[in-house]
């Protein structure tokens, strides 16, 4: 029996709208900004096909409308078509978040026949040499373009997604133009966020203030110009923001993630908050986890908020920002998000921006001119633990 949270003395909890299913941590790419944890779940720990389908069923019954099949690379799961069929039959709006690597034309057609609603395809840039260098996957960019063509032929709606960072921020217009060329209806340009593996590459990825200002202005111009052609969703660099982002639309308010091994998280990076205990779908029904799970109730409402959050007029806009960022930068998951101008830790963020960007400004200019002959930025990739150039 699940008690609604309001009866247990908490603020009323709405049913979740979205579930992100991290089907696997396996991935053929090695993006330096990967936000998955340093320790990845092994293949033999992954939920089975029937465990995933049972989780989808519980999610749909709980009120989830959107299901995002993600990873790692979800196409690495051999049962991707069966999982898609099951999700669609439960009435879930099913979105595949993929790098494209692992999809074939035949598989795309099967996904389409299974009723897949939408695909979000990632790119790492618009030029093969630099994009493949970022993904650590030779030939990856060309393959993604083929996948986009198959998706288009199958008629599956497409969003092109690009994480932007110091090395590719000059390509925003090219990304928009590529999205149109590939027949995407939407493009998502998300500035890199520093969680998980990305933190190891922060110095190579942090955009400069000039880049951020330019990107914001390009996006505004293009949005007006492309109304009815392409929807542009842009996630600005929160290190440069005045106020924090409404991370996850508020902790435990809109959605949740399920990790490859079945742990249910209020957000993608929540496991960096070590004192939280996360329930597993193998042990507890999803409804109980959502309404009564300790990790979910830890930062709901405003009871947990310190000042200046608790009396802040923006607390219902940004819900105090990102708990994982507070953990990472202030060492305290309950602290005000340090990017907030009102946070006592804001100075540390500013110092970090300066440390991470000033030395490398010349490289930035070079890489926009030519992406082959410049010295390549040293990224740390998973698996080798060393610099590769």
């Amino acid at each position: 029996m699940t008690l609604p949270a309001k009866e247990t003395g908490q603020v009323a909890t709405p049913p979740p709208i979205a579930m992100l299913a991290e089907l696997t941590h396996r991935c053929p790419l090695a993006c330096p900004y990967c936000s998955n944890p340093l320790e990845l779940a092994r293949a033999n720990e992954e939920l089975s096909t029937s465990e995933w389908i049972e989780t989808f069923r519980q999610a749909a019954a709980l009120g989830v409308l959107h299901l995002h099949l993600s990873g790692g690379e979800p196409a690495s799961r051999r049962d991707l078509i069966d999982l898609t069929k099951a999700a669609v039959s439960l009435g879930l709006y099913t979105n595949l978040i993929t790098s494209g690597i692992g999809l074939t034309e035949a598989r795309v057609d099967k996904l389409s026949a299974a009723g897949l609603d939408h695909v979000q395809l990632s790119i790492q840039g618009t030029r093969a040499p630099s994009a493949d260098h970022v993904s650590g996957c030779d030939g990856g960019h060309a393959r993604k373009l083929s996948v986009a063509g198959w998706l288009r032929d199958a008629g599956i709606p497409l969003t092109l997604n690009a994480v932007c960072h110091r090395r590719n921020m000059g390509e925003i217009e090219d990304i928009i133009s590529l999205a149109i060329e590939l027949g995407a209806r939407r493009v998502e340009i998300a500035t890199v966020q520093f969680h998980g593996w990305a933190m190891l590459n922060q110095k190579a990825l942090m955009p400069t203030m000039d880049q951020v200002a330019k990107a914001t202005s390009i996006v505004e111009t293009m949005r007006a110009r492309l109304e009815g052609v392409l929807v542009i969703d842009y996630v600005p660099a929160d290190y440069y923001a005045t106020y924090p982002k409404a991370c996850m639309g508020g902790w435990g308010r809109a959605g949740f993630n399920v990790t490859p091994s079945g742990r249910v998280l209020p957000c993608h990076a929540a496991e960096t908050i070590k004192h939280l205990a996360f329930d597993n779908v193998r042990a507890r029904p999803l409804g109980e986890i959502w309404y009564n799970g300790g990790a979910f109730n830890a930062f709901r409402g405003d009871g947990w908020m310190p000042e200046p959050c608790r009396s802040c007029e923006r607390k219902d806009i940004d819900f105090g920002g990102c708990r994982c960022q507070a953990m990472a930068l202030a060492g305290d998951a309950s602290a005000t998000d340090p990017v907030c101008r009102k946070s006592p830790h804001r100075k540390a963020v500013d110092r970090r921006i300066i440390d991470d960007t000033e030395v490398n400004d010349t490289e930035v200019r070079d890489i926009e001119v030519s992406d082959i002959e410049t010295p390549r930025p040293p990224f740390r990739y998973r698996g080798n633990g060393t610099l590769r150039s």
């Binding site: 009120g63 008629g155 969003t159 209806r185 492309l226």
Partner: protein, 100 residues
Amino acid sequence: MIPNTAMPEIDGGTVVHLARGVRLREDMVRNQTVLLAPERAIALDEIAVAIIKEIDGHRNLDRIADDLSRRFEAPKEQILQDIIPFIREFINRRTMEIVG
């Protein structure tokens, strides 16, 4: 190349359909009708549901306004003037497409 576009005129003669990947769903948990689209779930009121259910890719907005005016006993011109900005917003968001 990034095209320079002008939004097409939308009037009584316009015919639209929901784009693929956009659909209505009864949300039993919240007891409402929602329009599902990529990254969006839009809760609709009764009028919005009625309009969207009329959209079939064949009848133009004029015809649809005419049908709705009989059903809701309201002046057709008034309904058409309400429908046009509603449809324009969906076209802007690429959730509806103009036919032909």
